[in-house]
Point group: C2
Chain length 353, copies 2
């Protein structure tokens, strides 16, 4: 179910708040002044001072309090996921590299802790998310301008609120923006368990079927001449999603019907996509790409929030489901190792602050 979904621009860092930078740290440690009324609590945060392997370059440190200005909202974070895009950003394999030092994380959920004097419509205790998503959610307290925060219905399942923006929004856009799907149409995707290189166990298959998959195949099962013979009663897919590349992308292409579209949104195998000339000319396939970050950039804050509401309605009704593991912040290292695939196929890791 996971996806390498891409994350924020540096611009997001300008939204004020405890955007961790070398300069900010120095100034804070010099000044014990100014603990006036409007300061945040200190924040425990996952930071990295340079790009590199996430288990090497990240550390958990305490950041000093920052001022809560009149338009700011201070949020006590409740939960934030470790997404593949978070990992890629720390690794530095992103086209837009965050300025370091930086705080990890790009989405999450929190509770309003305090508000500046000019803030309207948000009060302590409100459930909020940064929307559009933005940098630095792996920490206990965030201070950002009120415009950054979007209030969420309190009866929403907390772990879904924490994770709704990056992956489910990507899935929704990819389902809606490329072809017109009709009732009964099939979709094929690779990377269905989101952890690279893990052979799909029978258990994983059962889990994916419970989540709504009609058929689940491992790559070794697909080493047959006629993959479509495996489809049984499912129509040939009109749409395919690729987050792996290499052979796994070729398999998606094989399943697609005449005139079908494959959308690439990740490349977990770090291998390119290879496609025959005849797939374009005679099978009339279209290959496209999707990047949530670009989509969000196009002045879509309102649209984004409307879709978040829609997706959380689905989650409340039990129609949007995916596996997650909530992990206490103290166990961040273990969660990171699991997210890095070191312990085999694991559910999405969600840090609980």
């Amino acid at each position: 179910m996971a996806s390498i979904v891409r994350s924020a621009t540096l611009r997001a860092l300008r939204n004020g708040g405890p955007s961790f930078s070398g300069i900010a740290i120095r100034r804070s440690s010099l000044s014990v002044r100014a603990f006036s009324a409007a300061m945040s609590p200190p924040s425990k945060a996952v930071v990295y001072e340079q790009q590199g392997p996430p288990d090497v370059v990240t550390r958990v440190i305490e950041l000093p309090p920052v001022e809560v200005k009149e338009n700011d909202v201070c949020v006590r974070m409740l939960a934030a996921p470790i997404n593949p895009s978070d990992i890629n950003r720390i690794e530095g394999v992103y086209p837009v590299k965050p300025e370091t030092p930086a705080i990890g994380g790009y989405e999450g959920v929190g509770e309003v802790y305090s508000v500046g004097s000019a803030v309207k419509g948000l009060s302590p205790g409100d459930l909020v998310i940064p929307s559009p998503p933005s940098f630095g959610t792996w920490q206990t307290y965030i201070v950002k301008d009120q415009s950054v925060w979007y209030k969420i219905n309190k009866d929403s399942p907390m772990e879904y609120v924490a994770t709704v923006t990056i992956n489910p929004l990507t899935a929704l856009r990819m389902l809606e923006d490329f072809i017109t799907l009709n009732s009964g149409d099939a979709i094929v995707q690779n990377g269905a368990t989101s952890i690279v290189g893990q052979p799909g166990s029978d258990e994983a298959k059962e889990k994916l079927k419970k989540l709504g998959a009609d058929e689940v195949f491992t790559e070794s099962q697909l080493e047959v001449k006629n993959v479509k013979g495996l489809l049984a009663n499912i129509p040939e897919p009109a749409l395919g999603f690729n987050c792996v590349g290499g052979n796994a992308a070729s398999l998606v292409l094989k399943f697609l019907r005449q005139g079908g579209t494959m959308v690439t949104y990740g490349g977990m195998s770090k291998k390119p996509i290879t496609i025959s000339t005849s797939s374009f000319i005679f099978k009339d396939l279209s290959l496209r790409g999707f990047w949530l970050q670009k989509w969000l950039r196009e002045d879509r804050a309102k649209e984004c929030r409307r879709m978040i509401d829609y997706l959380l309605d689905l989650a409340r009704e039990g129609k949007l489901r995916y596996e997650m593991e909530l992990v206490p912040f103290d166990n961040f290292r273990t969660a990171l190792d699991k997210a890095l695939g070191k312990q085999g196929s694991q559910p999405k890791q969600v840090i609980r602050f």
Copy 2:
């Protein structure tokens, strides 16, 4: 300038006329009866009895006269090109394989020789082309239903009439059907000389520039890190055409601007296309395919004829130009060898009957 542009379905053979088949030959040779008024002259034709290397499997034979029925038109062919798609079809590397024995060729121009009693709007001496294009143009006389033939303005340059449907129509559709081009936009294409594996000589470069190219590069010139540095004052191309595959396709992708589209319409190198994940996600490229045969199938006879008129207007005005070599039918073997690339880079070979 050439392109592997794809050709007809077997259905086209059903349009009556001397569609060469085992059965037809047997019947004709048995019956010396019925040389009534409405018979065609015998036809000298390039036939192949099975798929294989074109220089091995084709031979020129004389086919017996066939009946010109009341709705038929008998056309004396004047000229027909050897297109890469004709070669692919004879080789059997086409998804739709013509039933053999078959007559080569898929477009051409002729003069009406005689008409059936019910034919309206066509008279002996009229210049005509099969439109939409159809099988069996490499012969001296063709008999097909009047609906197959489209009358062409007699002041059109004959060699352009013979070749206008397959390549120029493909070029026009690819320019119009994928993106909206604005004045000043650039286009990049590979296979610009149409013969595979021939290093582009200075002479070839000059020829392509005379035909309208702003810049012409050989593959070896493009073995640099920053191909875009070569563009000088040309804007980054929004649209690319690929008829080669392999490395030549990768080069087209490199030139394309953010959000650009590459259309594949041939695969002369017989190598697949390889593309990185980031080209889809971060560069937002789209990869599509074009097949004239599919486009024509979609009930487009009228549209096709309108575009032929438009293209021939351009040819008359000297705005549509490409290099051709007219070759007497007696020298078919030489023309075929040239079309097969055996003699290096050569202009499009057009048989003159």
